[in-house]
Subunit: 333 residues, 4 copies
């Protein structure tokens, strides 16, 4: 079975997904839509597909599934439209920045018995998957502590920040999802600290650039997330899980693995400087997983509920910072 | 100038300090005291010093300084006695497990204009010192985040735990001191989570075996401490400091640096399995630093106040766990 | 300008090159030929190109360049035919296992002013390129010693060995080329030792499975190559260059970068187990370089002469082993 | 039983051995001799032993063993004198730079049934010992290839070089011994290349500063030794052994294990810059091994014959370079 795809959004991420879809022998890219015509046309030319309107894709008989890579504030609407149109939906994270809107959207998905996968791509990074595989094999025994270090090479453009939803909803959300993925048990409490150390303009926007979060589960497992919006040495993305029988860690990635030795010491190059080069394999992997789920009729994962759970933890972290206390997730759900 | 030493306590740590004192060309070990005569005699025989009573050492004209390695509950009394006797005092941590007792003891030291150094040996680990040196050189710019991972190979004997003061006062206190050492700014708030994952008997004792702590300073710097009482892979002792211009990390230490490659992968040996082998150089370094301070007439560091500050953070962490909130250090001081 | 390609050979390597050609925006795969029709048809179907005979590709007006991935014993003939037909030629190594045949072939290429690139793909491995880039930047000063470790996961099929040309022509030849690439000066002498340690059947075939080679240049630079046909831990491919100001090394590559810590130690997974996964990027890189050379009218590199030079060093190594002495390359040229 | 020691030579290495002897609970340093009186007196003062003449030590009833750390050209004479005097002898390498002299000396030792240990300290480096232990445990199966990289931080003083015996006898000899230690089979052939790349003055002295040597055994095992007299990045001392079931490697050592990450990359400090800091534990270990052998009445190892075997390989390497061919060790024995 070949899954026939429509692509909504031909921007940076749209191109990545176009490549992933066309590179998969079980998928076919039928059409692409974008408000900016030349962007859509470029993808159409490169991959031999059509340019269509969103409405045309919605109505199309020759399209089984869509990949939504449009701006965040259109996600929830498009998910609802396309599950109603009977298409399977892969949507970039987040579903929405507003908790109520996400819940409403997921209610529609459920009502329509729609198929929805949310783009938490990091679950598909081969290194992180290998960490998960070791946990699942029992190598480290019972999971006790998860440590996630996640630092960006630099602040996003300051005009993006106001519509980012803030660091917890924009950046930490990936780590919330990863913590949930690795803990193997739902998060019960969230405790966070946050400050502005990178750029005082971030404070003017009411946001933070340096945060730490501790998550706990009912059985006492703990996860620590450390975020900074700026690391001169590159895109710092490490995961470590400590358990009763051992630990497993995924190391940082760099474009080339060389080491230069001089009188000043032994130097390896900086890390990747961009999430799209760091997570190249993860982007391809998530689309492959979506295609496979559709082919086998299984529920794609991470689900819309996973998207909601991540956002809930972001809300709880904000509340924790505001109130200087540990917040129970149940307070918000 | 040669500093003439009396050693109080001939146990495990006493032996370590005896070796450090005798190995220093500027020091001489004159006498050793211990309630268990054979222990004192063994040190006396090996290093050619006398066995004396504590009282005799207190009264001795030929002794300038003492190293206190007796049980914890005698520390504060002995510090007071020996500063009153005009001896310089190096005391193993902690001064006492009780905050009020520590404050009273330090009041005596101040009143007597006594010289007191507290044995936070990790400040003298060559790797951690090198981390500090890079910070001081400005290599990483302004310190923003300190991450300290500290895991013991295994639980201490369960009969030790009740008199340990609990994990925060017994184990985390080293990390509190290290965080203070590296942050370069006093800690303003403490937020902690704690659970029992290693052994349910720890819970019966009202203690924890798995904790995370976030410290913040007035300017928004943050430090994260992760502790577990059990790591199958050895004595896990890592430090990482992230700053505006970069980061610096001290790696774990193992007895031998080999790597075995087989069809199962590339394996390096486990870490040190004992704090005394892990911190061999640190123990020697702290005594050398004490001797040097005495020789040059400078104040030895870490001081009694550093000992107090560490204990204060332990108290704050306990309060944070109990009340589920961020605790201001000022609440306790 | 788009270069239009014909692919000769639809086997394992043919598929790799088909992907590289179609993935390059400046290239188009027009036709594929293979004696085994289904192999050619599969590539044609996947990439939307035609199946043609070798003769038809030779005569085609719509093809500018060919990639030769047919069996080794056809390489020299095909190179001659296609340069005579005015096509640019990329040929998998080796041109031929016989020195005289290679020289005759290159004479035809020169006479026809043909364009020929030989597939020493490792020059395009990003890690090895980064090593070369550091040398070229002057980071390590004058190159003095090159150390190349190259071990296969396991012996090739024993029925392949008799037509492999022997370990020096089949396996070490890659390292000879890499040594030439990195030394920056022609090799003057070759000294080799060789034995059979992996499988006695290799000795029955008159071949070796474990060899060491030292190369020297006129100015005294030295390169050491270590080869084994079997490494349980994976495809061991390391390069290290020592110079007057420092050294630079390319580390081994593994599919995932995780580390598992248990009571038995810290274990990272084995290396890649196959040259095609180890050198994925190198295969794509060499074709991209060929396309770029054609587009810019520069001579592609490595050239036919590089192919000849590598073979010459293999001959010299064989002679060195046979005669138990250092062989001057000039003796064979 | 306590072994009572005389120390011959109070220079740099003498001090190291004095510390090792006095630090061993089963040994006692009774006397030290040195032509330079203040050197001997300093050691006597520090460790509470006597200064005596060589003759007095030779005649002493209260001395069981001597450690010879005098200049190389006195070693053979002193070994003969002291075995004749019935003392057990530990002698720094080499016994002598002249093969005939070494053989004559060992004949005396045999005739006198003397006890002689030669100071190839690297066998006692804990990392290299751990490599050997893995081989002995069978972890890597049958040893096939040994790779030893040994580079000095810089050239010795040029006035030392003429009496050093040349690079093979002075520097490579350690690696010859290590190769013998690890191969587990005697070396049958030696093939070497040598050049002057570091300093042309080395060539004026008829010596080399950059060499590579391949050793083979009767069964076809091979060892490669790479030496340079100058490495800007420190004292480069690596060992790697490849076998039928895997490989084991000892990594380089540095004084502190930190890593600094900046926009320029991840940098670890240079290696040790001096053999005495790199091999601190090895020096202590070899003396401890000597003391233990005496205490248990076993033959100390490495023996005088090991000293001879190393020198023989150095001679063979010189001959190989001079004649441009593989030299059989049997030609020289």
């Amino acid at each position: 079975m070949t899954t026939r795809f429509g692509l909504l959004g031909a921007g940076r991420i749209g191109k990545v997904h176009a490549k992933a879809v066309t590179g998969d022998a079980q998928a076919q890219l039928v059409a692409v839509a974008d408000a900016i015509a030349p962007a859509a046309e470029a993808i159409a030319a490169q991959y031999g597909c059509e340019v269509r309107s969103i409405e045309a894709i919605e109505a199309a008989d020759d399209i089984d599934a869509v990949v939504i890579c449009t701006p965040t504030d259109t996600h929830a609407d498009l998910i609802e439209r396309f599950v109603r149109a009977g298409k399977a939906v892969f949507c970039e994270k987040p579903i929405d920045l507003d908790l109520a809107r996400v819940k409403a959207c997921l209610a529609v998905v459920r009502a329509e018995k729609g198929v929805l996968m949310v783009g938490f791509n990091r679950r598909f990074d081969p290194h992180f998957r290998a960490v998960k595989a070791e946990i699942d094999k029992g190598t480290i025994g019972a999971v006790e502590m998860v440590t996630i270090t996640s630092r960006d090479p630099g602040l996003p453009h300051l005009d993006y920040l106001p519509r980012s939803g803030g660091i917890f909803r924009d950046m930490t959300i990936h780590d919330f999802d990863m913590a949930r993925f690795l803990l193997g048990e739902e998060v019960a409490t969230v405790t966070a600290t946050a400050s502005v150390l990178v750029d005082p303009k971030v404070a003017e926007l009411g946001d933070f650039d340096s945060v730490n979060v501790i998550l706990t589960t009912a059985s006492g497992k703990q996860a620590v997330i450390t975020n900074s919006r700026r690391a001169t040495y590159g895109y710092d993305q490490r995961i470590e899980v400590h358990g009763s029988l051992g630990a497993v860690a995924a190391e940082n990635q760099r474009p080339v693995s060389i080491e230069v030795a001089t009188a000043q010491g032994y130097t390896r190059p900086p890390l990747h400087d961009f999430f799209m080069t760091r997570y190249t394999e993860a982007y391809a992997g998530e689309i492959a997983s979506f295609i496979k789920a559709l082919a086998t009729g299984t529920a794609p994962s991470p689900s819309g509920e996973d998207g909601l759970a991540g956002l809930l933890l972001a809300e709880a972290a904000l509340k924790s910072v505001a109130e200087g206390r540990t917040v129970k997730v149940a307070e918000l759900a």
